[in-house]
Symmetry: C2
Subunit: 425 residues, 2 copies
Amino acid sequence: MKMNYASLTSAQAAEQYDKLQAEYESWKAKNLKLNMARGKPSSMQLDLVSDILTVLQDPAECHVDGLDARNYGELAGLRCAREYWADVLGCSWQETFVGGASSLTLMYDVISKAFTHGLKNSEKPWCKEEVVKFLCPSPGYDRHFRITQSFGAELITVPMTENGPDMDMVEELVKDPAVKGIWCVPKYSNPQGITYSDETILRLAKLKPAARDFVIMWDNAYCVHEFEGEFKPFADMLALCREQGNGDMVYEFASTSKITFPGSGISVMASSEENIAYMLKLMDVQMISYDKVNQLRHVKYLKDKAHTLEIMKRHAGVMAPKFDLVLKTLDKELAPLGFASWNKPAGGYFVSLDTMPGTAKRALKLCAEAGVTMTSAGATYPYGIDPNDSNIRIAPSLPPLEKLEKAMQVFCLCLKLAALEKVMA
Amino acid sequence: MKMNYASLTSAQAAEQYDKLQAEYESWKAKNLKLNMARGKPSSMQLDLVSDILTVLQDPAECHVDGLDARNYGELAGLRCAREYWADVLGCSWQETFVGGASSLTLMYDVISKAFTHGLKNSEKPWCKEEVVKFLCPSPGYDRHFRITQSFGAELITVPMTENGPDMDMVEELVKDPAVKGIWCVPKYSNPQGITYSDETILRLAKLKPAARDFVIMWDNAYCVHEFEGEFKPFADMLALCREQGNGDMVYEFASTSKITFPGSGISVMASSEENIAYMLKLMDVQMISYDKVNQLRHVKYLKDKAHTLEIMKRHAGVMAPKFDLVLKTLDKELAPLGFASWNKPAGGYFVSLDTMPGTAKRALKLCAEAGVTMTSAGATYPYGIDPNDSNIRIAPSLPPLEKLEKAMQVFCLCLKLAALEKVMA
């Protein structure tokens, strides 16, 4: 029998609740241990790319670009690694800096240096400002928000639309000189899988912020991460900003974390040559260089953008059935009940779901008690607080299909229970 | 004919100068390109350890310590890598944090976080202090000094004695609450190759600084780096400080930069468990973890301290003849002239030389013009300024022996020319 939860009477809800409660108890008795909390690739994906372990064996091959990758030097990274990233991102190699296993660390470093030393166009280090505000399109990536929060910035929620951040609001907010930047995941945004429209991207590139050192933190984490359909080209945000006279306004980031191994990949920070030169001066104090042998290993394995896209097809072969399962389960279990909605992404690592307001926390508590770990409710909002207590991020990549199926059954059941409790209350 | 430059008349000096000047011109005509600037291992050393490229080939071996090293997680590093470092440093694995290719980056991070967030026992972040002072035993390591300088700390020179930093002075200086820390290279110090005496180390552990968050930056860069004689054990500074009620006062650092590859090794930060817990909380915002596959590669290759010491013997086989050549050349060319003195290290990467005061810069300019690159004069002092313009760091590791021989000839010649110019002036 189909029923819309919104039109249930209390008695109907109670009856339904009792039925589902019995089902829930039987799931609990199974002592499951399932995890849909983080965008972690599965073992099967790691196995697909494990040839990278043997791609660099001959020490003679470490002599590249006129130097020995094994030795000290070359702060910005091996030339061939910079060229690889330039190919992937569509910028020039002079605009790149190659990092270690984590692009998050590069983002942290930009914000950290903004606070201690200032960015290239800063009048003073941000730690000397009365207040620093940062725009957080939400739902968004909790680790982005935490970086700026950790330095004491005030986080301002900007709603996401189907075309990206609400640009009317962004254009208004940047008139405040205390607003120093914005976090963006332009392609397959975390968690909604939204790709910013051309218009949104152009309006971002055209921004005229009051703060001269306003920075767009352009995390292109999923730039080649289609799991459905062909590769969708993306704009070179560096060029767009430059054309609008905003060359120094954007720092772009990407990594191989979901291309090769999350625990040992390479990352990139791309920006205007002037910004890169400025950052190199500061980073020269911090290190000699990131791991160049691993840079070389990656260039030998990934070769170029075209070959990288072939590898991404292999990942898609593992990812697509999982997303398919998630979406089919949601359609079957929740769509008729009318209290939840979700997106249907074609790439990235997440499905974002909005359940009945005021019930997300409770639903995930029920999940946890039944052995299913989800990203904390609220995590997709600044300070970890979702004002509607409604948004939930589903990360289906890690569990194998048969476990994912169980996890989704439990998840849907918990959403229903929490919603019924609300209706009954 | 032997002559002591100090007792030359102007006329004698001028005669000598003309003779050496002709020799110098003939060296210049050779268009040499020799480098003794940095403590870079030679190609021969890199080849000795290049089996590390093939030590980890089977993806199945990436499953260690109950997790998959290829995937996300384990911020403090793989358990086996932490245990490796605990074995080398003589501390417990719980006191370690395993980093990437650069221990310098870990040092930078400690200082950076002290300024932005404060250390565990700080009353406030150092950026909120009126003034922050840092003790710099000199001659010392330029990259240490630059880190604290870059954050605006005031660098205070503490003279080095043959037993380590002048401890009377250190004990006096730490009474000032603005003095927040000290840079130390306790074994084969850079550049003098001095190993701190037991008494010095104990007095450091016993310090009672006015600043509650005073930090000893204990860079154990050359902890297993003998090139002459057997391995010399060193104290566990963490335990010593703990015994003196100063458990949180020290952060120790080391890396494999001069054990495996400088461009792609692993590093470690060791401190009290409380300090590590504090730093983990801050670093959790910055990254998921450093490169765990490379940690595993290193553990498989280096195995433990005993096996690491065997590998260091192989390095010593390459290093010892170079230091021998440097010291013999100095003895032959400079000892009779009485204007220079130098140390005779048994480990580390440098020979530190004091030439006639007021002539170091000039001598190195002459070197550069003849194609021999040296570490800049003054680099071993805070702000790059040697008040005596006398100290020079010789780094003989990179050039092969035959090139090193030429470089040393040119170097000694330039020291003589600069000294004679001074005598004649």
